[in-house]
């Protein structure tokens, strides 16, 4: 949400740098899930991924006066998480091979891999957010049909609406998302996920 309201950015940055926890909360809500998702895609361990992300936020908080843009904060958080994932991964590898050494520099290969997973994490966030921002009437249908993979009939049962209604809402939801393509701009991206599904279902 934050990235979409650029007019509030200076205010938010101001609050962050003065140590306002409510501002941190906004930032946290904005980035937490994507960072955990990203960390998880690097190390495949949810508990450890959460641990790494919390640590990244505490380190950012210590340096909070040094940032002049939200994009810079996001980049910093991603970098901290990437590096900690590498340390974790490397420690695990070392343990398996009974090595004690820990490398300080990240191999290029690892950085390239991490970069691609960051893009995935960000794209998936946009998709997820588009679902969440739909009117609940449409969102629930989309969630049950595409995420829980229920059939039209099961979705109708779950929501206590007619099957025809499920179909109508699904179409309307996809329409809403398509219309966002037309007015797509940097801060308002589109849910291709549903569009892809819309073609096949």
């Amino acid at each position: 949400m934050v990235a979409k309201h650029f007019h509030i950015e200076p205010e938010l940055l101001q609050q962050l740098s003065t140590g306002d926890e409510r501002a941190l909360r906004i930032l946290y809500n904005e980035y937490y899930t994507s960072l955990v998702f990203f960390a998880n895609s690097m190390i495949h361990d949810t508990a450890q991924a959460e641990d790494i992300v919390i640590t990244a936020f505490t380190r950012y908080w210590d340096k909070r006066t040094q940032f002049e843009a939200l994009a810079a904060i996001k980049a910093y958080l991603y970098t901290l998480v990437r590096n900690d994932c590498y340390k974790y991964y490397h420690r695990e590898e070392a343990r398996k091979k009974h090595l004690l050494a820990v490398m300080d520099t990240l191999p290029e290969e690892y950085v390239a891999y991490a970069d691609s997973r960051m893009v995935i994490a960000e794209m998936v966030q946009q998709i997820h957010r588009e679902i969440e921002q739909l009117n609940p009437k449409y969102r629930d249908v989309i969630y049950l049909l595409f995420v829980e993979e229920l059939s039209i009939k099961e979705t109708a049962y779950q929501l206590q609406i007619s099957e025809n209604n499920v179909r109508k809402r699904k179409e309307r939801a996809i329409e809403l998302l398509r219309s966002r393509i037309v007015r797509a701009n940097l801060g308002n991206l589109v849910l291709f996920y549903l569009v892809i599904h819309g073609k096949t279902h």
Binding site: N40, A47, E50, I54, T58, D62, H128, Y157, Q158, N185
Partner: protein, 405 residues
């Protein structure tokens, strides 16, 4: 690093929207930069990958609040503008231990200083055998008594029964009516042994997740004025709302939970002292099976009701905990062990169910408290390596884990 402009181009590309020459060029350049970028583009075009990714984000979001509290505690401990790099306290412990060994999942263990001193001496030996963690799977018991093993079955129709088809879709069981109900209810059961967990969609659309060593019995078609199911073990429900048709959960033949469209967890393992019902959304009423509604309690989201399993306990009041740690309660659904504040005995119960082992105590049960979380996908031996640090002595014989004094 991530560029918003690039994300925008990828979005357009995946939507088959026309790209300008500059955009086309930028996309191509990015994809050519590394093999992984090319792979990422393919993954983002893959339905199944995206479905799993969204599902994973949904699950991740469940612990957001819990971890926010943790973060808040941590930053409050730090003086403003500290020159020290802030590190979570529990991570420092973790790092100290990691000098000696690291759990495969990076769990962390803090132990009672007292019990550490009391339990000195002899080092323990585990055999080198591997006991693997549990996986997805279950048994399906049909109305005619036939038992089907669902672990290895592929997507498709699993069984045809009177009036209904049972099918598997992405590892989840679901029902479809094949004709009008003949009115006589037929019952099916899904049973997870130790080392398995499973999810299904009941005929009314209710979503159900079963933890290891659990079961649910339900009619293949819900008819009449109520929807009644029976459960044992630990089960999480997302109940489909039905005006005027309550959803009733009989837990362990001991507690009755009446539901009005909601998300909740029942933990009714026979070998636990209490039956715990935890509400995440909606509203439930809970009572001892043997008593009437006058002795019931109504839960609001975030509350947990505890009913004792001891004989004659139905005359005791039901305990209600107001701010239950809901993320901890449903950690199992997210593939995590959450041992925050758990004693050894409680922890071993969970390990018994997930690794299909039996835990035997040769002496008194050590009084140790654990903190931390870990993935449920680690090998038992790796997990036990971590326990050595807290000075617990044990040995493995077959599938028996023997805790020595």
């Amino acid at each position: 690093m991530i560029s918003e402009a690039l994300l925008h181009i990828i979005t357009l590309h995946l939507n088959d929207e026309p790209l300008t020459a500059t955009q086309e060029h930028a996309l191509q350049e990015w994809a050519d930069t590394s093999f992984y970028n090319e792979e990422a583009l393919k993954l983002l075009n893959d339905k199944e990958f995206l479905r799993n990714a969204i599902q994973q984000r949904e699950d991740t979001a469940l612990a957001r609040e819990e971890n926010w509290q943790k973060l808040l505690q941590q930053i409050k401990r730090q003086p403003a503008h500290s020159t020290f790099r802030p590190v979570l306290l529990w991570r420092q412990h973790w790092k100290a231990i990691a000098a000696f060994l690291v759990l495969a999942a990076g769990a962390l263990w803090i132990w009672h200083a007292n019990s550490l001193q009391q339990q000195r001496a002899h080092t323990n030996r585990t055999t080198s055998q591997h006991i693997s963690p549990g996986t997805n799977g279950a048994l399906l018991k049909l109305a005619n008594g036939t038992l089907l093993v669902l672990d290895t079955m592929k997507n498709g129709i699993v069984a045809e029964q009177k009036d209904v088809q049972v099918m598997l879709r992405n590892g989840r069981l679901a029902y479809a009516a094949t004709g009008p109900s003949s009115g006589v209810p037929a019952y099916n059961s899904v049973i997870t042994p130790k080392g398995r967990q499973f999810s299904l969609v009941l005929p009314d659309g209710t979503l159900v997740w079963l933890n290891a060593a659990s079961s649910i019995r339900y009619p293949t078609v819900f008819t009449g004025k109520e929807r009644k199911v029976e459960v044992t073990g630990q089960v999480y429900f997302e109940v489909a709302p039905r005006a005027g048709i309550p959803f009733l959960v009989n837990a362990n033949n001991r507690a009755m939970i009446e539901v009005l469209g909601t998300h909740f967890d029942v933990n009714a393992y026979e070998n636990e002292n209490n039956i715990a019902a935890t509400l995440l959304q909606g509203k439930v009423r809970i009572r001892y099976l043997a008593t009437g509604n006058h002795a019931s309690v109504v839960l609001t989201p975030g509350q947990q009701a505890l009913l004792q399993q001891a004989l004659n306990s139905m005359h005791l009041p039901i305990t209600v905990i107001n701010h239950a740690d809901t993320a901890k309660v449903i950690a199992w659904k997210r593939g995590i062990f959450n041992f925050e504040g758990a004693g050894l005995y409680d922890m071993m119960h969970e390990l018994e169910r997930w690794y299909d082992i039996e835990v035997i105590y040769e002496g008194a049960i050590p009084d140790i408290q654990f903190f931390g979380k870990m993935s449920k996908s680690v090998q038992l031996t790796d997990l036990l390596e971590g326990l050595k640090v807290s000075d617990i002595h044990f040995r493995i014989e077959g599938r028996k884990l023997i805790v020595m004094p």
